[in-house]
Symmetry: D3
Subunit: 320 residues, 6 copies
């Protein structure tokens, strides 16, 4: 697949495999039902409408299905829309796999995992090192696949580990500027802070909150995970409690989900780095397709602001 959904231009005729990411049913004023589809591959998404559907269409074209689509790209209120001419579900004969259509982090997940292990390897405090390694090992399979969120930032496959690795690098840089920081504690906090998202969220495809995600949430889940790990490893001492505090306080304010504010220096910095990385990720994506001299769309996770791309800065789209 040389050209992806992101490259579709108004006027193009399309013949491609895509994933149905979302489906909503509507009823037109002529009384006939239709489907609003969001079609995607790893490069991006496009909207489409399937008019006058049958009950069978409704049963077949569900979120998570890969389809073969033919049609034309039109302009609708300034956005691209695909006018469908033919649509059928992919079969075994088509040799396509759902994971090839999932938006995914821009780096290889095994490489990133290797980097995380390297940070753990360099820790000096054995208790913190063992706890972190134990928990990473326990959740490793899900951890390298999970998104970091359902929306806003890093909401794609391997988004969680991509976010963690990026934060680890930022933590290392800042720890050189503020040398009183305990890097073992800081790195462990970074690695573990969102790890229970593997329990809070349903996984990289059509990500949703799980029942325990809704009723308990990733922060208390992780506090309990650390307690369990310490018991299994027979680790005692203040490290366990302070690590739990790092997790508990990393959203910084009660109204953002942290029952305790950061009361340890490394916990405060963990929150600040988390914030920077999430914001830089949202900003880069918001400005990706914005021409110099133009404003981006409003970004919900950034206080609904619309950002300006100055005419004189180098292109955001070409960060190399």
């Amino acid at each position: 697949m040389k050209n992806g959904v992101q490259q579709f231009q108004v006027g193009d005729s399309i013949d491609a495999y895509v994933l149905i990411k979302q489906v909503k049913k509507g009823i037109a004023s002529n009384g006939k039902p239709f489907l609003s589809l969001q079609l995607s591959d790893q490069t991006g998404e496009i909207d489409a409408k399937l008019w006058a559907i049958s009950a069978e269409d409704e049963a077949v074209f569900r979120a998570g299905t890969i389809v073969h689509v033919q049609g034309d790209v039109q302009d609708f209120r300034g956005q691209r829309q695909l006018r469908i001419k033919s649509l059928r579900p992919a079969t075994a004969m088509d040799h396509v796999r759902p994971e090839d259509f999932m938006p995914t982090a821009p780096r290889n997940k095994e490489d990133m995992l290797e980097e995380v292990h390297q940070y753990i390897f360099e820790m000096n405090n054995a208790k913190i090192q063992r706890l972190t390694r134990h928990l990473l090992k326990k959740h490793q399979q899900a951890f390298i696949m999970a998104p970091a969120a359902t929306k806003n930032h890093h909401e794609y496959a391997s988004g969680l580990i991509y976010h963690v690795v990026s934060m680890l690098h930022a933590a290392k840089s800042l720890a050189q500027l503020y040398p009183s920081l305990d890097t073992d504690l800081l790195y462990a906090g970074v690695i573990l802070h969102d790890m229970a998202k593997v329990r809070e969220l349903s996984g990289p495809m059509t990500t949703e909150y799980t029942l325990e995600g809704k009723l308990i949430g990733h922060i208390p889940l992780m506090v309990t995970e650390i307690d369990n790990a310490a018991k299994e490893l027979s680790i005692e001492g203040e490290e366990v409690m302070v690590l739990q505090h790092m997790i508990l306080s990393h959203h910084s304010k009660p109204e953002w989900g942290s029952p305790k504010p950061p009361l340890v220096k490394e916990a405060e910095l963990l929150h600040l780095i988390d914030n920077i990385d999430a914001r830089m990720n949202m900003l880069d994506r918001a400005l990706e397709r914005v021409e110099p001299g133009e404003f981006s769309e409003r970004v919900f996770g950034l206080e609904n602001r619309s950002f300006y791309h100055p005419s004189f800065t180098k292109s955001s789209a070409d960060p190399t």
Copy 2:
């Protein structure tokens, strides 16, 4: 001790054993240090000043010490103050015990414990019953001694179980009015909701927050306790998670310490009953000594309001 501190009147000459509840050191304008003491027994508290102290006085008269005091009760800005004539620490010869000077719940703690067991006994859901019984048994010794808070409401020995028993009775009454409620879940929530205060607070004497109280807090501590109990008892199923949710959400709003709001009917009611019992406790104590036709002092825990005792209602001081 026939007459307690509460009964001291301006003009009385006093000869009594009292507990030093709080001490603050000051320096007078003549350059000499003095101590501001808060003296108490089970009936109440009175302020006193010890002028021109020596270094030895400062070492001896500390919070938690029982002393023998002689002096006169004076009026100071509308409040009673004890003018100390002699003061010495009690010794083994005096046959006095600290616990006899602690403010304590108005009911016998063994009776209250028996009532809690009765509520557990009547539960139908075996998983909830076993979890609750296990956790009560584990913490029973501390649970029947602990205060419910460091200040505001039920902040005395056995205050926690007194609060729990009162809430159980309210829960039972309301469950009769709203029959769709699951009483097993509701009672278990009441019994466990503040149980980790035995870890959050230092105990009934000169109550303070512990380190894990400050860094983690009783809500996440209890969520982990329930997880541990379920593992020990090999209990699985939604009951465990929903009980954890009851604990997690019982402060109702993030800014009050609950990372999740109540999302189950019994969790919502648990919060409401907790609120009513705390407020009625604060109101009864605020109005205890207020004459009909007068206003109480301001009550911090009740939005700093000052409450009126109507002239026509029966005396708050005589609720029998």
Copy 3:
């Protein structure tokens, strides 16, 4: 009418009398007007569309009209929708009455009124008793018919007295747990607190705010009503003012409509009981049709939360 609107299933063919509760006019993309109807009886509501209407249709099919309808029940975005095949307004020949189609409290209004009178009968304070009885007598006709609100909770015929009776029972139970309470004052507060809703709201059918409801509101209206009643009955004394205070403060906070917060113990409890009863009413209705293991729709009056029905609790739908 053996089976009501609530029992209509997708696939049923319907032939029934129903009340038009709401009407909205739309214009379809073919330029022709249509009506969106909400059809109801005492058991519930269903949506329907009437396409391509004439000016006469628009004049005839108004809110509050009873109609005879034939059609089929379809599924539309997960909700039932009635596809109308024929529709005509009911006439005298049909022998149907609007009040038979109004949602109504689940208890008989005369029985509830009798219970209120019983609470008044047992009062000891003659001034409070006479004021309460006088005001109940004055507004009795409207009081037993009125809804408690236009939406959110108890928003059906006789909802106000149903809410009051439920609160009286809760007040009685709690007064036994907190014996310092003055029950005369508390019961009078419960009975009168929302009584001026008979002036604030237009009545049980298609309930709206009246002009004095919008400009003055039920709280100041009731304060004036009590003043008038006291003058008519030549009652003087603090009871009058304290009762007015109970009404004035029962929303607890200025931003919820109370210019004074509760400054009397019984006023504080009145607010808390009002809150519990409203919340339990909303919760029971939100969870009525929610299967175990599922979440309810979002409930506006409960901070827009969606509630979970645990798989292990007894069915909410079967509270007997």
Copy 4:
């Protein structure tokens, strides 16, 4: 009394009659009680300390007592303080009256009352005119003496009518700029908006909130007063309700004490004029003694701001 308290300079020897406005008792570190006195006359206030008092002193020197004082004016932390050399209560022989020592509005109260009557005289709407005249007549005695508040603005004898007259003039000016305004309604609103402060506050000397001031407040009290007046005068019609709404909404927001926001144009303007007049009054007094190029003390009623007196503007102290 040629020179008042306001004119006392550091270094002056004083021999004068003054009013004790406030008294607080303290206990010095030598164990002896003393009194902190606030001494005042119509021109201003000064602090003084009376050391080593007897029980008799405490009984005699109470708030509201006129005393004859001799002493020296000293500087204490940048503020004037009177060092008392002799102090005795005034007696009948001294021929002094408390009202001569009260801070009072800068205009004659009979003149101001005459102006209010003139505004009523010019009204065209007979219902509004009769209601306003009736209520003014009923409360006239207290109305011309009352302060407008206990603190912040117009908190002196006749402060209420001074505030009302000033607002009437502002209302008249603005009504010429915005001719769609109904001046009858606007003027009646101005005259009545704070009239129930004669019931809410205890009067011009040592002003405090009354019991009905605390439990009901001047806004609901006035709504009821208008209802009573309309009944006495047999006036019906929307004017009564709209006038009640003007009163009810004149604090504009629930959190400032208005259960309804202004929903009528004249009610909105009433609030805005009330605000302007209160703010100009506070500003003039805050800047009265501030030299050009200096900042005032912080003003609580103006969001705790400290205001600057530009070097180039004409002197605030000399507004003629």
Copy 5:
């Protein structure tokens, strides 16, 4: 054009020139695009739909275009809608000018400018006078054309100067009531406070924020303008800084765009007068077409309130 858009009644057949104020493209359920047009002249606006458009239609019928339209006025959900029968862009042959279709202030802009100059002429402080005159002269052309805002109040051609003149009259009236005010400072503040809206907004037609309006805003822009003017005129002294402070603080609170609150008396009044004039303008327009006894639509700029037109007040529509 005897009758304007405002006078179009349901049932009328229309043949008129109008301005396209806004355009939005939609796609109907038959897949064909259409345009939603807002058509306007100086008297008001009306909505219209143009169905089944061609690509050429879309290119021609843009905001800012004057068109000749024929059609019928219909009722759609209680609002007038124009059913278009023919539509063509106006050409040079039609002899129509865009500015004749712009909503404009109700007074002649040259007259208003003359009044502003009169206020400047009467100033006594030469520095303030020269600064004000210089800045007015610099921006005069745009100043007399500019709207005061993009929406809410005075959002029409010459709205800015209309707002300023109205505020100058109010300032003059109030300065007579509060004589300590420095009128030079106050008038200069009124004239300059919003002057940089000529840079913040794009002009009277299809008003939008400019880039410097979005990134800097009219308040900091004007502070810099005053600095520049003082440099050009070689004016030094506190007047420059205090005038800058007047501009900086005229929104009163940081959350409304003022980094400093008013700290000078005239700055406080400037804010209050700005507020009154904006609110009276919004109220007059909201109530313009509201019949006695009816409520207005909700007004966004007035806390989303809906205002009542009392039955007894003179017609808002006839303020003469």
Copy 6:
């Protein structure tokens, strides 16, 4: 001066030169005035009292005076206090200079200035480079001496440039992680963001807000400075406005003093880096003297939190 104020221990006899940083006058209960002094040198501060002062003492011992003091260090409520035995102002004979007693940044100011110039030297955008260099040159003298604030963080001599250099290093590190950033814009924003503090604050000794600091503030002052610089250098183009926006928005929210939120990526990061550096500075100082296992005092600038020093982390006091 081998041992500074910071090293004084309870029990030491002191003979040293110190700076009087603050003075407050009090009056003791014996009626005699005294001075509360805060004595400091570059290492820290200590409180002292000078009893029974003469008028001459008050005139001589003012803030900013260097004195020679002899006395003993005592413990007062857990804090060190100096008991003065002799005190005299330093004279020319003493060869001491005020700047030797000022708390100062831990790095040499010339070195830091050199680093700032290096960052400017490496810029690629000539407009940004020239503007930044011009403004640095203009304010260089004050810039390298100024504190960054009056309290909370970097509130010592050369605190501003220390803060800027630290932020430049952080900016450089983060720009490597997020390569789409324009470093010219980011570095210029860092260098200029607080430069107008040289006008807002009075300087490194006894730092106070200037008049233009109070009425305008450093943010609008700097926006104007950039405008002036661009005019002087004849620089036009978007760079000027975007740099002004960087300054204007660097407090991020209106309620923190920024009339515009960051709308450019580099502006967002500027705010985040400013926040991190201020917080790390406050944290390091709060924890400086806190033993492992102890909590710090509350830190006003960090939401009044008290921070924990874990027992297992390396000593904060020894960050080398």
